[in-house]
Symmetry: C2
Subunit: 357 residues, 2 copies
């Protein structure tokens, strides 16, 4: 008000509009907006006033270009494909919890999170990852979506943190202690329950996490004299459908199931329990089942699922923390391992203790 004509120059509101409206230079506007320098109170007020009146919001791209900080972390995960199995609704729980951890941590530093998911069968994954990288200050990548060499190369351009994988040269890594978790679980099954026949229903064959878990169960079972069925017939894919498929296959071929089935993750366990239930087999009386992850629904299954809790939210938060440190100070830990925790519920054969809440 007072000024002749604000006359929004049509084009989307820039700092120049604010400056002329407030009768100062664009530099002053910028300074007020960013709290740099020490503008006189009068100046500051006029600028703020103009900003308010105009409803001005600075353009992130220009800002980023100018000061070299986008305040954006890119996160690329694999999602289920566009047409998931009917059972698969919950297949993204795992990554969503991680997202949440990242989001919370990022928010605290004024960063936003750019999601760039890819399907399992998408082509040009590298291109997608690169595109996200170009829009962000740093990248958090799930497992092995692209070859290690590509990750290394990418990492020379923009800081990269891989999640739940094995460290890659140049990139940083954050993961959970799969090995220890699986070992605890096996000890509980073998030592506390006395099961000496286990089966390991695996995850995707190309997953480092899956390898680590398989290795651990074999080693620990052996150490305590228990058998473990594993291998091609026991090949799942981290999905509920996959777990159900394996069990059905085993049962149909007349195979005898081991006393306890250790699943690569909770979703698989969910599928297994469904398949078992359909065949009239009781969990845990006939067959014990365990998961891995401790996804939120795990406690709501019947029976509640015994599993290994990965601190997924912290995993995400830690990934961001490491990345942020790299972005702001230029250095960050290259391999962080987070502890896991055995969660004993009922699906292993333990009696109901403290159900739900």
């Amino acid at each position: 008000m007072g000024l002749p004509e604000p006359k929004r120059p049509k084009g989307p509101l820039t700092i120049y509009d604010v400056a002329s409206r407030a009768g100062v230079s664009i530099a002053s506007v910028s300074r007020v907006l960013n709290g740099q320098g020490s503008p006189r109170a009068a100046t500051r007020d006029r600028v703020l006033q103009a900003v308010r009146e105009l409803g001005f919001v600075p353009d992130g791209a220009a800002r980023a270009l100018s000061n070299g900080l986008k305040e954006v972390v890119g996160v690329v995960f694999r999602r289920g494909d566009e047409t998931p199995f009917p059972d698969e609704d919950e297949s993204f729980l795992f990554i969503d919890v991680i997202y949440r951890g990242i989001d919370l941590a990022a928010r605290r530093q004024g960063f936003d999170v750019l999601m760039g998911s890819v399907g399992f069968n998408d082509g040009n994954v590298e291109a997608r990852v690169a595109a996200v990288g170009g829009k962000a200050d740093g990248l958090i990548l799930h497992d092995r979506m692209i070859p290690a060499t590509s990750i290394t190369r990418l990492a020379s351009l923009v800081p990269v943190v891989t999640l739940a994988g094995t460290p890659v040269p140049g990139a940083m890594n954050v993961r959970c202690d799969n090995d220890e978790g699986m070992r605890q679980l096996v000890r509980h099954l073998v030592l506390d329950h006395g099961y000496n026949e286990l089966g390991y229903l695996s995850g995707r064959i190309d997953s480092p996490d899956n390898h680590a878990r398989a290795k651990a169960i074999e080693a620990e079972a052996k150490a305590h004299g228990a058998q473990v069925a594993i291998g091609h017939d026991w090949q799942g894919d981290y999905s509920a459908a996959g777990g159900a498929r394996v069990i059905s296959g085993l049962l149909e071929s007349g195979r005898k199931l081991p006393r306890a089935i250790v699943c690569a993750n909770d979703q698989t366990a969910l599928g297994v329990m469904h398949a078992l239930g359909r065949r009239g087999l009781r969990v845990p009386q006939d067959v014990a089942v365990t998961g891995f992850d401790d996804v939120p629904v795990a406690r709501h299954l019947h029976p509640p699922l015994t599993t290994v809790r990965q601190p997924m939210q912290e995993l995400g938060a830690m990934a961001f923390a490491v990345l942020y440190s790299k972005i702001s100070t230029g250095r960050g830990d290259s391999d962080v391992v987070l502890p896991v925790q055995l969660i004993v519920r009922e699906s292993c054969g333990c009696a109901a203790a403290e159900n739900g809440r």
Copy 2:
């Protein structure tokens, strides 16, 4: 190779580096990268070669600034707070499905999704929303996080789609047909089951969706001569904890529960069922319970939850579609209503039909 010294100029790789490496101008590089013009095959190859060797990825900010398109949609939701109740783990399921819909649709247009969540108690929500808006080409906002006038103002700067709210001047809106869904549900309860006493365990009081649902249940119940308990004593907040709290309160004050409890959403129903179970009340024999949303876990509850399915993924996809249309063509529908579907399972009293699979 061949050229004297690539000598990465330390600073992070720009189009100039690529150009000099390939022995062409930056314009040519840009053209090759964006498929503009018709570069000679030899030129194209040299550029691509250089890009590959250097591992160049163009800077998104610069690109955005230059051509006025960031290829980013901002999405701001309310999340639970940083220290959720133990029960609340699944409280974000709802929005995650929507995210997924947005993500899928966005990906198809080469857009990425920028998440900017805010907690229920966060201050300066408007500032956060604005910040996200500044980094994106368009904004998808959940419900009413900020006053309508703010939304309107924001919408003059950048296209805005609100979700599941009521349309706001200037912004576009996409929502589900709450009214029809609730009416179908009530008809099922009253007409098919003969329940004539219902209770409506509401959502957050400031939510338009909650209002719409409350209105609908009252109207439809009245139309069929059923009573419905509603109001202060029945005030939930969309959370499981809230649902449980209300039920406990009611029971402790010695109140008699209606025959059927209609919850504002599935999470609330989950809490209600827990609370009921703890008091030894059976669902649906003693009290019927219904939800709203059809969250993935709904089918895994015991008994499986009768609810109203909102096509949440499509909701997200539609939101993006509308926004994209606005961004690219300058116009988009201002109020899209998506149909809902009554999902009858067992918590209403119906017999087990086709359980989960």
